[in-house]
Symmetry: C2
Subunit: 140 residues, 2 copies
DNA sequence: TTATATGCAAACCCTTTGCAATCCG
DNA sequence: CGGATTGCAAAGGGTTTGCATATAA
């Protein structure tokens, strides 16, 4: 299953059409493991001579996120970031307040304690968001 | 130290002027322990016949947050929420995805593990944001 | 063919800002 | 008095949307 069929299948599943623009956006998202905003993706595509509009970038990303092919990340600066969904594992983020770098981490102990907190508050936990803000290795 | 002097002192400390509008916004923020957005505060004040502009609400809230009298909360829906700072204790939030209710919680074990994660990633932790999304007691 | 997707620009939403008028100290 | 604060409306930044045109199936 190559990168073309991944998208094609996902679209077909939802009765959506396979278009050049959607493939283009998906390719760009897959080209790095970074957490990028929509404008960044749009500008890169245009700079590379690819034909896509900003509106289509936004609309395509929305489709990808809904289909589970991409993840949306909100770090609180007013712009949403997107990352290709690498696998099924959930992860949280460490954000460098100096250089903006975003690193991922997983801590199962914390995940467990969150469930704990939910239970003791009679809260049915659906998702969570944990972000650590500070200085990355290079910015200290 | 009544609610008037709290604000007066804080403003004086920063060489800022004590104004009717600032007191008005601060009073409104203190009137509940809810997490409210700027528009909500503005509309309530106007509805109560108080004279203040939207711009002043935003500017005042910013002053209060900077002075540590209020806290800003971003739950990822595009609007910032504000709460009066009750005491010095940090806390995280549980957000009901059905009714929007926001409850607070503290879990020292999780706080400790966050420090742990930071250390093992050579990350200098400054702040963090942890939000649990799900269904509150009443919405299950 | 024909309904879905695209591109464009305008609209949106929340928030910030420039500037003249007002007010605190 | 004189600079800080206010109100207004316009601008800003990111994102969404209406509509005519283009295109996948």
């Amino acid at each position: 299953m190559n990168k073309y069929s991944v998208l094609k299948e996902a679209l077909k599943d939802s009765g959506l059409r396979y278009t050049q623009q959607r493939q283009t956006v998906w390719d760009e998202l897959c080209s790095t493991s970074d957490h990028r905003d929509a404008e960044d993706i749009y500008v890169t595509l245009v700079r590379n001579g690819l034909s896509v509009s900003r509106a289509t970038v936004y609309r395509t990303i929305e489709v990808l996120v809904k289909k589970g092919l991409a993840r949306k990340l909100d770090i609180g600066d007013g712009r949403s970031r997107y990352e290709m969904r690498q696998d099924n594992s959930h992860h949280d983020h460490m954000i460098c307040v100096n250089c903006g770098r975003i690193e991922e981490f997983v801590d199962l102990r914390i995940e467990e304690l969150q469930k704990d907190v939910a239970v003791s508050n009679s809260f049915i936990l659906k998702t969570h968001k944990l972000q650590l803000y500070g200085l990355c290795r290079d910015c200290q």
